[in-house]
Symmetry: C2
């Protein structure tokens, strides 16, 4: 992973460039932060000529480490106006790394809208004109591209929403089986990709070379240790069996499950949409239905699934907690089959399920449709795909939807919709939402896992917890691994340094890794400052400080200035 | 003007409070800046409970000085997210001052949307429930209220757009004849007023007392000097005869007339919509048509008009330059009668003509309708009033419209549409647009008048010019006078201090007045900083730095950092 692929989408000129030493040693999210800060104008318009779109591989993207091979998708977000990294599994990230690319960078934009395909093979690349892909939905696009380029390629693509430049547009990617559709949902990266006139990036690594590794044996030994810890961890079996939906019941009992546009933290029909119910139905229904699937090849946790209807016909692959919560309880919808369909419709149209579920919740609060109306919700998603005026409103994200429809309760921070953890009763994540350069993003530092060690609704200690989790988040997103790998690193933070040293011949210890993460956070904050989105202005929506959240009846009460000082806090240099 | 009227729109509790000494000596825009900074949370949601809505009278609001009696409408803007003051003529400002009020401040918001009327008479006030006003257009609302409260009241009201919370909603006010409709258009103050559940504020000053004046004779003498200078100024006759539309031909020949969504600075049909043409038609058509009307009682310039159709039937009162340019040339519309109708429809629905004209121009660029399609434009404005999805998009302002419709050329700064002076060929105003806390607002410092002293497209000197004009703008908006009074103050800046000293018994000289203005600018910038809208982040839309503007083919090229340093510049302390 020593090269960058620079693609000028206006002139169609494509160049491979060697990484600097520093670029070689920053992966994924860290690479994106430094690259955008140093090589783009943070004040640029997100969908304009000066904006850049990046797909980056993680530091360990071409290794056999469990969960590795994820992709970081980054750019300037049309939702937040700040920097964004959206992380996703699937097959393409490893293939990108296999070809030796740290990143692909799309620059400038074509004079006319276009649906080109960037085809990358063996270090060469070209933009292929592909007008037939215009307005195609995501799975359809995959089918066309697999047909043209073979089943073994990795694909990133956008749906109609990305072509339309809608701010909630996502980037979808295929898995190695072609069955699952994985999504880099947050921040509207699909709109940025669409603005470059690129409908899809196809990565063919059939000519891949042996990865460049400093000490194969040491790498293999460290990776095996990680795998063993994960295998022995008691959470792993639960994750394998129930996946991310496993947390729904817990969130419901903590009173943080978004319900009817964040007006309640518990849903009376939680048992109908829980992880247990999802797993039960998958086992019962059979057919296409599966659980325990990996989203990247070689993952030993395998928490993913294919969810099928009563006849065993695939409805969506995969069904995840955020999607169930935002499109389900947050919209008052308790029919899990209907939720699965809404989830798939979002995937196909190419919009983030979190942003879209939040927007639909706001539309329901505005009275456009009733809470619980899954047909109406589906119609709204279809309207996004067709680009009707209402569809475009919803597809522009929850802040625009709330503004246009004059709704006061808008669950967003920095213009981006909140994931499925109401910060009034899980205050640590509220600190993350409001202080992260990423806006409301649970993957930037999710305090849920701390709920068993501390009162999640307590005021004290949340800022420190959030900072620690934010640093951890950067590390994982820079390695290109899943956050479910963390038990290994929590047990032995030294493993992170051992893995990187074995791969790159460095002599890091864990504090060096932590410093890399802090440098990334600093770069992201600086980018946002220069973009006119002050990094030290931290708050969550006014209503969350005013309206107590049933059933626990908490408000968010961590003082803004305490949060604003978060990056002055110290984090123990040895703790992951 | 020693009192504030504090109106809690939730509890309906109304209190009069004495001004502090400082509040007594800051009027209009200055009052708003300091009051909002010191008495509200800048980070609040513009349409939420913590936001405040202010109507303030100017320092000289109850004097006989020519052009005095204007109102400052202020609050936190739903368009920009920053502080906003929008200035307007009409009858109510003087009446407010006559009752001894420096300001009315609406606080909190009702639990349910409402269309109450705040009735203020002789220092007392009440909120009268008036459900029949729901969704009423502006003139219709005036009629109902004149009928109920008598012809001599002054009225501020909102149209349907303000009730719907649309970010381009304006506050309309009546003149002393009941014929003209004057509009505080910028910044969405109508949405803020609407969020308070107040459809109208009715000011009855029939019990007014003699104004509190320190030295009547000195005031009268200074006011007479002002009037004489204005009378003798060569521009006055032109203003009287042609009003603000007089500048259209000049703007066209300078190449700064917004044309077809700011894609050109000159319009081939400029002569069909010029000030000369408007005046000619008014004289020719007769009937309701009039020119040379005052917008505040006692103004000696009288630049306003009533524009009538071929049969002499009133189309709009009055027709102003900004409206002709944004709804006309900017939309490719050259039929002045059609423009007058569009202008009136905006007034009646209750949206800012500048914001709406810009939004329609963007919708035309998006291909929703053709440039030049005045019927289509009218339909869009009607849709705002009806609250259709498309109407709500357009009514949410040009930034939202551009985002939702995926248009790259969005003529806005800080989320607010640009007035009718393209900054590529009038660079001083570009400095104002980008550095003013008010966003793109020509009244914050319009460099047009400097075009005869310097090359308007030169890079050098524009920052200093803008700063000087910004200071001047604050002074005029704090006195409650029209910017057409400036020839008097340019000739003798000492007159400003003489007027205030005579009114208040102070012993200011002009540098003291200038300091008051600089303090206001500082307070506004501080408010924006605390609101998360960095005051030192100055730029105009990317396309204006990239696309040369025909016919002069200039781009906006004043470096961002030079503009960001504007408030470090010095302004000669003696020059108005």
């Amino acid at each position: 992973m020593n090269n960058l692929l620079l693609v000028n989408t206006r002139t169609k000129k494509i160049e491979a460039e060697s990484c600097t030493d520093k670029q070689r040693l920053t992966g994924g999210r860290s690479f994106i932060a430094h690259y955008l800060l140093n090589n783009s104008d943070p004040a640029c318009e997100p969908l304009g000529r000066k904006s850049k779109f990046i797909v980056a591989s993680g530091l360990l993207g071409d290794t056999a480490l469990t969960t590795s091979g994820r992709s970081s998708i980054g750019g300037k977000s049309p939702l937040t106006g700040g920097i964004k990294e959206s992380n996703v599994g699937g097959a393409a990230g490893r293939k990108l790394a296999n070809l030796g690319f740290r990143a692909i960078i799309l620059e400038d934009m074509p004079q006319e809208p276009s649906t080109g395909v960037l085809y990358v093979k063996n270090g060469k690349a070209e933009i292929i004109s592909f007008p037939g892909l215009k307005c195609r939905e995501v799975s359809d696009t995959f089918d066309v591209l697999f047909d043209r380029f073979g089943k073994n390629v990795g694909i990133y693509c956008i749906g109609p929403a990305g072509e339309m430049g809608l701010a909630s547009a996502c980037v979808a990617t295929s898995d190695h089986t072609g069955q699952q559709l994985r999504v880099a949902g947050r921040g509207g990266m699909g709109a940025v990709m669409g603005s470059k006139g690129i409908k899809a990036i196809v990565i063919d690594d059939s000519d891949k070379k042996k990865p460049d590794t400093y000490d194969r044996k040491a790498l293999s030994s460290a990776a095996k240790e990680v795998a063993k810890i994960i295998r022995d961890d008691p959470k792993t079996e639960n994750r394998h069996d129930f996946g991310t939906p496993a947390v729904l019941s817990m969130c419901n009992s903590l009173g943080i499950l978004p319900t009817r546009n964040f007006s309640s933290g518990s849903f009376e029909d939680a048992d109908k949409i829980s992880g247990e119910k999802v797993a039960e139905l998958i086992l019962k229904r059979g057919g296409d239905a599966r659980r325990g699937l990996p989203c990247v090849r070689g993952c030993s946790i395998q928490c993913s699934n294919i969810f099928a209807d009563k006849n065993g016909k695939k409805l969506v692959a995969s069904l995840q907690y955020e999607n169930i919560a935002l499109l389900g309880s947050n919209c008052g919808i308790s029919d899990i089959d209907a939720i699965a369909v809404l989830n798939d419709r979002c995937n196909q149209v190419g919009v983030d399920t979190i942003e879209t579920g939040a927007s639909i919740g706001v539309a329901m609060e505005a009275g456009l449709l009733e809470f619980g109306d899954s047909d109406g919700a589906r119609d709204l998603i279809d309207q996004i795909g067709r680009g009707t005026y209402l569809g475009r409103i919803i597809g522009s994200g929850v802040s625009v939807t709330g503004k246009v429809l004059n709704v006061k309760r808008i669950p967003a921070v920095k213009g981006q919709a909140m994931p499925a953890y109401d910060p009034r009763s899980l205050k640590g994540i509220g600190v993350t939402y409001s202080s992260s350069a990423m806006g409301a993003d649970h993957t930037a530092g999710n305090a849920l896992e701390m709920a068993k060690f501390m009162d999640p609704a307590a005021r004290d200690g949340q800022v420190e917890v959030s900072l620690r989790l934010q640093i951890r988040g950067v590390i994982l997103d820079s390695l290109g691994v899943c956050l479910f790998i963390r038990p290994a690193f929590v047990k032995d933070p030294g493993l992170v340094a051992r893995l990187i040293n074995a791969k790159y011949g460095t002599d890091y210890d864990y504090p060096d890794i932590q410093k890399m993460a802090i440098d990334c956070l600093k770069a992201e904050r600086k980018f946002n400052d220069l973009a006119g989105l002050p990094a030290d202005r931290c708050d969550i929506p006014e209503f969350m400080r005013e309206e107590p959240l049933p059933p626990k009846n908490n408000v968010f009460d961590i003082p803004r200035d305490e949060i604003e000082d978060i990056f002055k806090a110290k984090v123990p240099a040895e703790i992951f």
